[in-house]
Each structure stands twice: as C-alpha cells, then as structure tokens.
C-alpha cells in the first residue's frame, strides 16, 4: 500500500507539507508509546518529582473539583 498509493501522494506534497506530515507521524508514534515530547522551549524544566509543582497543582485542582461536586 505504501509504495503504490501513499508514496506518490507524499511526493506531491510541498517541502513544508512533508515536514508537517513528519511532525504528525512523530506525534502519533510518541502518543502510541505513551511518551511525551522532549521540551524545546527555554522555560525551566522540572528536574524530578521534587519540583513537579505543576503536576501537584493539577492534582490539587482535580481534588477540589471532586470535593465541590460531592459536597456542593
């Protein structure tokens, strides 16, 4: 299928479209593997569980929402 149908279509794509397709495939593979992309921004990266504050904040909000649902 790849050679007969998909490959000719891919060759018709522009350079930018091929890059975007590549990006899509990488994202799909990462998602299927349960992996998260490596950070590319210059923001500080959490070094470990000791400074996963964003994660703690998300869990805290989830618990608060659940409590609100149960107790009103």
């Amino acid at each position: 299928m790849l050679n007969t149908q998909i490959a000719p279509l891919i060759r018709q794509l522009s350079h930018s479209e091929k890059l975007l397709l590549l990006n899509l495939l990488v994202a799909e593979l990462l998602d299927e593997s349960g992996l998260v992309p490596l950070p590319v921004e210059n923001k500080p990266v959490s070094q470990g569980l000791h400074d996963s504050f964003e994660a703690a904040d998300i869990l805290s909000k989830l618990l608060a929402e659940k409590k609100e649902l149960v107790h009103g």
Partner: protein, 139 residues
C-alpha cells in the same frame, strides 16, 4: 480508633542491613469496585503521589478515559502521566481520597508524596528505630 499508628521500615535489600530498609506503607487502593493491596514508598522528596501503570490497570482504570495530563519531572518525564483519583484505606484510619499521577512507566514505584498523602497524613520518621508513625489529620 487509634489516632496514631506505627509501622516498621521494610527491608528492600537485606545485604545492606539497615541501609537497605525504607518506609513503605501498606494500603488498599480502590477504584469503583476493584481493590488492590499495595505498599507505597513514603517520599518526602516527591511533590506528588505516583501510581505505576500496571496497578492502575489492576484497578480497572482505563488510560483513555483519564483526560487530565500531569507533567512529571526527572526520569518519569519521558512517560505520559494522567490524573487518577482513588480511595485509600490505611489500617484503621477512615478511608481517604488520594490523587495520583498515573504514569505509563511500568517500572515506576508506587510513591506517596506531598500532593496529597502528606497533606492528608502527618508522618514522623524514627530512622534510628527503623519505624515511622502516621496520624490522620481528619481525626
């Protein structure tokens, strides 16, 4: 009902004697109707509770149904984690709700961290005695 309970450290590697002993807490986790008996490492250096992938599956949790992504750092940053709320029963204490970062890492340990184990329980470590004591803040 006792307001404080003491537990012994668990031997993880007996070849190292006391150095190979760590504070693991026995607890029963429940999700809807399924329960699993586990031991969680009390980790004051962890901001969150962490649930290994397999235990979540044993509890009947469905990965695709957990929509809230939880970004973890360090070794666990390579794996996606999602928020999962579970009921926990610890000895004679009243049941509590614990929020976990459910990681796709199949080799991750079950960690009890600040959010929200240490928010729910006070813990005193007696390392020289290889014991720890917990008390519920709800009592």
């Amino acid at each position: 009902m006792a307001d404080k309970l003491r537990f012994a450290f668990t031997a993880v590697d007996i070849s190292f004697g006391a150095l190979g002993m760590l504070p693991y807490l026995p607890l029963v986790l429940t999700s809807q109707s399924q329960s699993v008996s586990v031991s969680g490492l009390l980790d004051t250096g962890s901001t969150v509770n962490v649930l290994p992938y397999e235990i979540g599956l044993e509890l009947g949790a469905v990965w695709e149904n957990q929509r809230i992504s939880v970004p973890l750092g360090g070794n666990l940053a390579r794996f996606e984690a999602r928020a999962l709320l579970l009921t926990a029963d610890i000895a004679q204490f009243p049941s509590v709700e614990l929020a976990f970062a459910w990681t796709r890492d199949r080799n991750a340990p079950l960690i009890l961290g600040h959010m929200n184990f240490f928010i729910t329980f006070d813990v005193c470590f007696y390392r020289s005695e290889l014991m720890f004591e917990i008390s519920s803040k709800m009592l």
